[in-house]
């Protein structure tokens, strides 16, 4: 039952994210996630990446795997490196199936989380499949139930976009031009 439910939520999320030009993947293990991300970044010609270590990336040896694939991994000093990094990898707190939305809600309002997901042209977001919530309303109440509202809560739905010139949709303004989401079971 639980699996059927999460498959349904995942499918919903994927459809919504793809509708707003995001890429969506799902893997079983942390190790696979690292490998998949490396392959995707390689494909896109990425040579260096800002990696904000999280629980999944550590378990999946992301840094090692990426280095092995000849991608330069930068995992500190983010204020200096993110303006020029070709991609950023972060782990996010929740995802909303109804909208294809990612939610950043680190308890400490980690500034590096924001730098690695906003300044880079490609943002790779990693998330545990169990963190997938069905709706906006449930997400709001989940955040509300936290011991306190995190200082920074960011919803991200697809890459950054604008229609400010002649109402023509253009992807990639101040934020990332590409958003890749990897669910880890």
């Amino acid at each position: 039952m639980a699996n059927a439910r999460s498959a349904e939520l995942y499918d919903g999320f994927k459809a919504k994210l793809e509708a707003v030009s995001g890429e969506c993947y799902r893997v079983e293990t942390e190790e696979e996630a690292g490998k998949l991300i490396g392959t995707i970044l390689k494909d896109k010609g990425v040579q260096n990446v800002a990696l904000l270590e999280g629980e999944v990336s550590k378990k999946g040896n992301f840094a090692q795997q990426l280095k092995f694939m000849n991608i330069d991994v930068m995992s500190d000093n983010f204020r200096k490196v993110t303006p020029d990094a070709q991609a950023g990898i972060t782990q996010v707190s929740y995802a909303i199936a109804e909208l294809g939305t990612l939610v950043q809600a680190d308890d400490d309002a980690n500034v590096d989380q924001r730098l690695c997901s906003t300044l880079v042209p490609i943002h790779v977001a990693v998330i545990r499949t169990e963190k997938l919530l069905p709706s906006l309303a449930e997400t709001m109440s989940t955040i509300h139930r936290l011991p306190r509202i995190p200082g920074f809560v960011g919803f991200i739905t697809g890459p950054s976009r604008t229609s400010d010139i002649e109402r023509v949709l253009t992807i990639g303004v101040h934020g990332p031009q590409q958003l890749i989401v990897v669910f880890v079971d």
Partner: protein, 720 residues
């Protein structure tokens, strides 16, 4: 009345093909895109939720502000309550000085536009950078936003390229993706060097002290992440009681604003967050929140305008406005544009600044239909118009015409004279210009009907009503157009109601419903007419009062009650009249419709919804059923059937240059159906549309539902 300079602005806007193109394209796609975005969601219940939380905040404003301040302060924010724009400018200037700020980046804040904040800060020698792409383009061009959500919608890529070329001293190509890339590169430098960020917020949560921003470009995220000082400038109307109340607004704002399910980013900030300082250390930033009044409280304390607090600034009212779509935002003259903008300008700038733009409202009510905050913007604009009329008086010619109309004997004898005097001219130079203003629109693309030889009040006496054992009595309120221009509609009404077993009476003392006075801001004459009609119709003596003009019906049902509410005796009579008044199609349908009938001769009919009938009375299915049930009638729906035809009473005289293109769009939609007849339920729409078709496509006839039913069935009875 609109002044010359204002008229000039309108004609410039209409001549601007770029503007017309961009606005037109957006307006054409917006309505369907919005509907798609709401698919699977119940808009009325989302709206109800928004109204609930926002109206609560509005009526507990002090409590909300106190709560917000307490919660935000507890999280380390410094909260400042600013009474005026000057207070805001002073506060931010001093803060910038204290903090040694040299470079400011701003993400979108209409509140800062409202008080011309940039100018003040730049005068202090601070580099201020707008970072929203549209806002940045306008900043470089030295312009104001023309739309709350899409500030630079009036510009082309070529213009943007020119502006960029000038600013960067190198050639920019008019390719949108390249222009966006340029903006990213240029503004990225600004983000990285900024020491202060200023942003607006879409919501301020009283319970938690949280500020929420709904954006697409990512500039709000950068503004709230990079600089070491952050100032939120927030109008007090952004307050929302509880954290989870924001859900409702998040459900509506992106869908209504840009037809998105959700924007790329929603950013929620509660208290200071860590930031990098120049020395590389990470510390909490200097964090300020300014809650700005600047005229808002005055607006919320006014019972007629209290609901403006429920506005979530989605600008959907602009997107569906036929007038806005033609002229764009700059014609409105100030920071806030469109219908809601006119109201905001009146309170936040000055009444004088709202004087011209309030005239642009057609009173079609489309904005009220789509408003997620459930604001009746046209009613509020009308209230402004009335207050201005009372304060400043109307121009002499308008006032004179309205005084004539409110003197029934004089008005009616003038109309009778007109019907004789027009004889030699009826085609070409209609003497209908002797009619009150609302009938005298002289335009090139429209011909006008003649005043009928015999007014309905005289025809009525010759009609034989053959009702055996009448079920009851109905008073017919004809209104001026049916009485003096289209008496045949009246015959149709009586025939149908007779068939339902009712005797119809025509109270002689009835006169104009007062709508022209109401819509021109002359409450005195409107009230005079309300009393005259309440007494003449004597609702106590009949079962129903029927009108076949929705504008009149709206007056009978709603306006009269408001106009006499201060007089308990009259108010009771007005309430009785309101209860018993129905528009023709609604009443006929409520009485069970007509017996199966019709001549069976195939006739393609399309239907145009009157603004008042559909949106004020919610009647749109009834008349369609009456028509389709008539043998021979094939009903073909036109595109945008409920879009205003551009008549709007005196509007077509005040702004023929706007009324005409609005009518043209209607005519295009009509022609596309290939129907032979356009059915309408409003004599005003009938006059407008048939005037246009007469010049352009005289083969298509415009007929009132009552008359069409009458004609199609009369032939039938002859055959039998």
């Amino acid at each position: 009345m609109a002044d010359k300079q204002f008229k000039k602005k309108i004609s410039d806007a209409l001549d601007n093909n770029v503007l017309r193109g961009a606005l037109g394209r957006f307006g054409d796609t917006y309505i369907t895109a919005r509907e798609k975005a709401y698919e699977g969601y119940d808009f009325p219940s989302i709206r109800e939720n928004i109204v609930k939380v926002k109206s609560y905040a509005a009526s507990h404003l002090d409590e909300m502000i106190d709560q917000f301040e307490k919660a935000a302060t507890a999280r380390g924010a410094k909260v400042f309550r600013a009474a005026t724009g000057e207070d805001v400018k002073k506060y931010i200037s001093e803060l910038a000085k204290r903090q040694g700020v040299k470079h400011i980046v701003k993400s979108k804040s209409m509140a800062s536009e409202e008080i011309l904040l940039n100018k003040a800060l730049m005068a202090e020698g601070i580099d201020v950078q707008e970072t929203d792409l549209g806002e940045w383009i306008l900043q470089l061009a030295g312009q104001h936003p023309s739309h709350m959500v899409m500030p630079a919608i009036h510009m082309t890529k070529e213009e943007v390229a020119d502006i960029f070329s000038g600013h960067l001293q190198r050639l920019s190509q008019p390719v949108i993706t390249e222009l966006v890339k340029t903006a990213r590169v240029e503004l990225r430098k600004k983000f990285l060097e900024a020491d202060m960020g200023i942003s607006g917020a879409n919501m301020a949560i009283a319970e938690t002290g949280t500020l929420m921003m709904v954006t697409n470009e990512g500039n709000a995220r950068l503004t709230s992440t990079l600089p070491r000082v952050h100032v939120f400038l927030v109008g007090i109307e952004k307050l929302v009681p509880k954290f989870e109340d924001a859900t409702h607004i998040l459900q509506a704002l992106p869908r209504s604003a840009t037809a998105q399910q959700i924007t790329s980013y929603v950013t929620m900030v509660t208290g200071p967050t860590p930031a990098y300082y120049e020395d590389g250390s990470v510390k909490d930033k200097e964090f300020h929140i300014i809650l700005m009044d600047n005229g808002r409280r005055k607006m919320y304390n006014d019972p007629k305008f209290k609901k403006t607090f429920q506005c979530i600034r989605c600008a959907s009212c602009l997107n569906v406005c036929p007038a806005f779509q033609l002229v764009g935002g700059h014609v409105y003259g100030h920071i806030y544009t469109g219908g809601i903008g006119t109201i905001l300008t009146n309170f936040l700038n000055s009444e004088n600044d709202a004087k011209n733009p309030q005239n642009l409202c057609l009173q079609c009510g489309k904005c009220a239909e789509v408003c997620p905050g459930n604001l009746d913007i046209p009613e509020m604009i009308l209230e402004l118009r009335n207050r201005m009329g009372e304060k400043q008086g109307l121009p002499f010619t308008q006032k004179f015409a309205l005084d004539v109309v409110s003197n029934r004997r004089l008005f009616h004898s003038l109309l009778r004279v007109a019907s004789k005097a027009q004889k030699p001219f009826t085609k070409g130079q209609p003497v209908i210009r002797h009619l009150p203003l609302f009938l005298s629109g002289m335009t090139e693309k429209k011909s006008l009907p003649a005043v009928a030889d015999i007014p309905f009040r005289d025809v009525f006496k010759t009609i034989k009503q053959d009702v055996k054992k009448p079920k009851g009595k109905i008073a017919f309120y004809s209104g001026c157009l049916i009485d003096f221009v289209y008496p045949r509609i009246g015959e149709g009404v009586i025939s149908a109601l007779n068939e339902k077993g009712y005797e119809v009476v025509f109270p002689e003392g009835q006169s104009c419903c007062g709508a022209p006075a109401t819509y021109m801001g002359d409450r005195t004459n409107a009230r005079k007419l309300a009393i005259m009609n309440i007494e003449a119709l004597n609702a106590e003596s009949v079962d129903y009062v029927v009108s076949a003009c929705p504008t009149c019906t709206h007056a009978l049902k709603d306006s009269f009650q408001e106009l006499v509410e201060d007089d308990p005796g009259l108010a009771a009579r007005a309430a009785e009249l309101s209860r018993k008044s129905f528009d023709f199609s609604k009443l006929l349908s409520d009485l069970g419709g007509l017996e199966p009938g019709g001549d069976g001769v195939p006739l393609k009919v399309t239907y145009h919804d009157s603004c008042h009938l559909k949106r004020k009375m919610g009647v749109y299915a009834e008349q369609r059923k009456l028509l389709s049930d008539t043998a021979g009638v094939e009903l073909i729906e036109m595109k945008e059937s409920d879009r205003c035809c551009g008549f709007a009473g005196s509007y077509s005289i005040k702004f023929p240059e706007l009324s005409e293109p609005i009518l043209e769009r209607k005519l295009n939609n009509i022609e596309a159906t290939r129907a032979k007849v356009v059915a309408v339920d409003c004599p005003g729409c009938l006059m407008q549309i048939s005037g246009g078709l007469d010049k352009r496509n005289p083969n298509i006839k415009v007929v009132h539902t009552a008359e069409l039913l009458f004609e199609k069935r009369k032939k039938n009875s002859k055959k039998n």
